[in-house]
Symmetry: C2
Subunit: 377 residues, 2 copies
């Protein structure tokens, strides 16, 4: 018997493959139209098949969040890889091992100490590194401000130390807090302007800075213009999720990741449907809690993927989910008897995917294939 949504062991992470391909094509078309290369962030899927589809659609390389991802995707044939987390000096040997084997791995820093560690390692190991300097364009997290003298200092440490200065990169993480096209377009312009300004400051100091890399899914889908930018990074667009829906950059029928679950009980007087999708399956991510519409732990859909209006996964324990209607009263025992299969759209695709060792890739003809997922560091 071949697997189907009715026979799969639950909980299971389902990828709607047709939706995924449309999402990939949509972002690639945007990058093409804006005249920049697309370097998708594979931290969302951590899946070889998904990254292959992104490369096949035109991506120029990938972004990773761990060196473990870099190793696995390089082993699968992708050579142009950017590790977009500030380099810990203790991880330089792992990065150099990859480069020595032919991986064109780029690393990043936003400090003199981090840059000096790269220079020192390169000298003592006769190693070569290609480095981006991280720019703080929106006061979100890491990076150097474009007008901070530290920027030129870091660039000089790298360049004078014989390390290849590839460019500058920024991530407008504040975009996750916005939800109007105007605000998103404005932030995308800040992201572009600040990153380009940083590149210009480095060039004005007589140093090389060929690449200008920006991106987050919300700004990538909102930028009106990317003059001066050379590459775009985005991750979660490949699956989208309820947080992105609330931000306004996707519609419900674009959500490509869901959790297949089974009804295992009820508390009829409370209107509760108990499912086997607890937080171990959904993750503890409550990203929509602070947004205009709080979806609890997820939007409940029928097994065919059709959202059930007002039915949310309202709470979770480790292996128990409680689904309940926001307002509508209904006889949950009769409508969702034990054994009923449902699908839950998650708050945050990156976090929910991470709970599973693999995905079940669902094609339009109903066939399913198992796609693995990287776990750990």
């Amino acid at each position: 018997m071949s697997a189907s949504l009715e026979t799969l062991n639950t909980p299971a992470a389902i990828i709607d493959v047709a939706r995924m391909h449309r999402n990939i094509a949509r972002m690639q078309a945007r990058a093409d139209r804006l005249g920049v290369r697309l370097r998708p962030h594979v931290k969302t899927s951590k899946c070889l098949q998904v990254a292959r589809a992104q490369i096949a659609a035109g991506a120029s390389g990938i972004t990773v969040s761990t060196l473990r991802e870099a190793e696995a995707f390089f082993a699968d044939g992708i050579t142009d890889i950017l590790y977009a987390v500030a380099m810990a000096p203790s991880k330089l040997d792992q990065a150099w091992a990859l480069r020595r084997r032919g991986c064109s791995l780029k690393i990043i820093t936003d400090s003199v100490l981090g840059a000096q560690a790269m220079v020192d390692f390169a000298r003592s190991h006769r190693a070569s590194f290609e480095v981006y300097i991280e720019i703080d364009s929106d006061h979100h997290r890491s990076g150097v401000r474009s007008d901070d003298p530290l920027l030129i200092e870091i660039a000089k440490v790298l360049h004078d130390g014989g390390v290849t200065l590839v460019g500058v990169l920024t991530h407008a993480g504040e975009s996750y807090k916005l939800d109007t096209p105007q605000a998103l377009q404005a932030l995308a312009e800040v992201e572009r302007r600040e990153c380009v300004a940083a590149a210009q400051a480095i060039r004005a100091a007589g140093l090389p800075c060929p690449e200008v890399s920006v991106g987050s899914t919300p700004t990538a889908l909102s930028a009106a213009d990317l003059a001066g930018v050379t590459e775009l990074r985005a991750g979660v667009y490949v699956f989208f999720d309820l947080v992105m829906l609330n931000i306004g950059v996707c519609a419900m029928p674009e959500l490509a990741l869901s959790v297949l679950t089974t009804v295992i009980g009820h508390q009829p007087q409370k209107g509760w449907i108990i499912t086997d999708s607890g937080w171990m399956a959904m993750s503890r991510d409550r990203g929509t809690q602070s947004q205009a519409r709080d979806f609890g732990y997820g939007q409940v859909c029928a097994a065919d993927g059709t959202p059930i209006e007002g039915l949310l996964l309202s709470s979770t324990n480790q292996e128990h989910g409680v689904a309940s209607h926001e307002s509508v009263e209904c006889d949950v025992l009769e409508r969702y008897p034990i054994g009923t299969r449902l699908r839950i759209l998650p708050n945050h695709a990156c976090a929910t995917g991470a709970q599973f060792p693999g995905y079940e890739a669902l094609e339009e003809d109903g066939s399913l294939r198992r796609w693995g997922r990287l776990h750990g560091w």
Copy 2:
């Protein structure tokens, strides 16, 4: 070079083995004193070495949250296993496969439909099942109330259908919302009383009900008396965590699980220390958010495990953690330079452990061993 806390790849999940053994001994001594068997819930660790230590200390068997756990622990030699999530009818074949191989697997239900599915499967497959009925002692989640006529109906369906009725079980999940010894002791008594009442109701109906199983870490550590109870279940006590600290059932030096992390950057003007312990390492669990003391994503400690007063992991992204002082101003650049190693005590040990493929078991002599952890279903 053998691994040490200074050379391990980060982030890493560290088990303080001496603390773990003390926690195991503490709970076993309580069960012994209360005159009940201890059946630890291994969903917290999902680790063979940890469960072996619990059995070696006197546990009579284990509780699991997935059939995947049952399969792995049975393969490791543990035969007395309780799967404490209401049985989905579609998983009966997997449960029966385990029993057929000699595993004394117990399953649970709280519905007539669930019980009937067990009876039907047993008949059609010549299978035998041992079943607990789940009791709702505190209106927390699943289960039947002890005075609900449904309880006897379910018991009759099972017994008359030829399925072995082992007993009743409850879990006072509401204990996680309490934080005084008085309230916890009172809830432990409700848990005991309701579960014993359910067993008595079943026995009064002329049906067997030998086992009365109760537990949650907070109530297990607070019960004054367990008259009528035969076994105690508890899980998170093996590691404890900040949620349990806030509930008041453990002290900081009992927390046995922490995440080893490396400082990778700063935003000195904001007092931020950027670490490589994002939510992918810590999990998205913010269990202390609704408690008396909110620890953010965790309590930051020095690499030797000593808590640093007022330094919390205040926010996270996927692979970035931001640590900052609650109030004290300090020069983060000087005190925590890039490359500094820290350890973070998590909100919820079950959720944080789940982010890692394995643990690093740290002995008192500083030696480290790798212990695997189950992932998926």
